[in-house]
């Protein structure tokens, strides 16, 4: 992961924030926002830029207003901590988008069935209905999984993600050799498929 700063620089800023420095957040932003956006965008390659920016800025602003939430004694680097908070925000935003789209599509479907013969935009409604069915199916499949990591893996697959490293990050095995990463990723995907087959569905 290329970075344009030294980790100790971040820690100095962290200590300044903890000591009540009012201007450290501005310097922090200049140092880390770009990197966080790049990292999260790599993880969600097919996602709208604004969603990424929303997730990153929320994580950044949360942290700077409550810097003590980061505990350096836990051994997690600060940039890693912020990266995790950012991608979790993005995952939440995407989940809420899926839910909203499903509701919108349901409303569109109800409207289409009421006035389909008279409406000149019937083609659009049919498309919306198909899209609603797809989203509903995605939502149903997602609900079959209990484990949050499994859900995130499935969400990535539904977005068309195929790169091993994206899944390895989720599983927390990105630091292991690529062979081990592939094996762990395959194992996780197989486990999810098995759960879905057992519960009567597949992604």
């Amino acid at each position: 992961m290329p970075q344009c700063f030294d980790s100790s620089q971040l820690l100095v800023l962290h200590h300044r924030l903890c000591d009540g420095d009012r201007t450290a957040s501005d310097e922090f932003a200049e140092l880390i926002l770009k990197l966080l956006v790049e990292q999260v965008a790599r993880r969600y390659p097919h996602t709208d830029e604004q969603v990424i920016w929303d997730g990153v800025s929320a994580a950044f602003l949360d942290y700077c207003s409550r810097p003590h939430q980061f505990d350096e004694r836990r051994g997690v680097p600060l940039d890693r901590f912020l990266y995790k908070a950012s991608w979790r925000n993005v995952a939440n935003i995407l989940r809420s988008h899926i839910r909203r789209r499903t509701h919108e599509a349901e409303a569109a479907r109800a409207y289409a069935s009421a006035a389909v013969e008279l409406d000149p935009v019937v083609g659009n409604l049919v498309q919306q209905e198909e899209s609603a069915q797809l989203h509903q199916r995605e939502e149903d499949v997602m609900n079959l999984l209990q484990d949050p990591t499994d859900r995130q893996i499935l969400a990535l697959r539904l977005q068309g993600e195929r790169r091993t490293e994206a899944f390895a990050e989720l599983l927390g095995v990105a630091h292991l050799p690529i062979k081990v990463q592939r094996r762990e990723v395959k194992r996780a995907k197989d486990r999810i498929d098995k759960i879905l087959r057992r519960k009567g569905d597949r992604p």
Binding site: D21, R22, K34, V37, D54, A58, L61, C64
Partner: protein, 138 residues
């Protein structure tokens, strides 16, 4: 990522900070709203270049207990007039306090009204007697 892209990212984050009272962005947004001024005018008022406004907005709000030191720290960093910044923060703080007090008064008034409405039946004969006894001259 190009420099203009980074600038946009900073500006976007500063924009999001407007919804968070912990940040100066929130204070500056409230001030601009109260004074009906645009960002450019706000920058001019503080004596800062408009393109530096997002960075200033990303600073944390001065704390009441370290007000002078915090205002001085921010002013020194951005080379702005500390008196102007202190005035901006004080004005927004005052309006916030007044708004909170108004909200408190509204809830207290509501309590009094409820107390006043607590009696549902007309005063009884005993009540009249008691009142006459307490205030014989009335």
């Amino acid at each position: 990522m190009t420099r203009p892209h980074e600038e946009r990212l900073l500006a976007y984050t500063a924009q999001r900070a407007r919804a968070r009272p912990e940040y100066l962005a929130w204070v500056l947004a409230r001030y601009a709203e109260l004074e009906h001024i645009a960002e450019g005018e706000l920058a001019q008022h503080l004596g800062i270049a408009a393109h530096d406004l997002p960075r200033l907005a990303l600073c944390l709000r001065p704390r009441a207990e370290h007000f002078a030191a915090d205002v001085m720290q921010i002013s020194t960093k951005f080379s702005i007039n500390p008196a102007a910044l202190a005035t901006v923060v004080h004005l927004v703080d005052s309006v916030e306090v007044l708004a909170a007090r108004d909200a408190g008064e509204v809830s207290t008034d509501a309590g009094l009204l409820m107390a006043a409405r607590a009696r549902k039946h007309p005063p009884s004969h005993d009540d009249h007697e008691r009142r006459d006894h307490d205030h014989p001259g009335s």
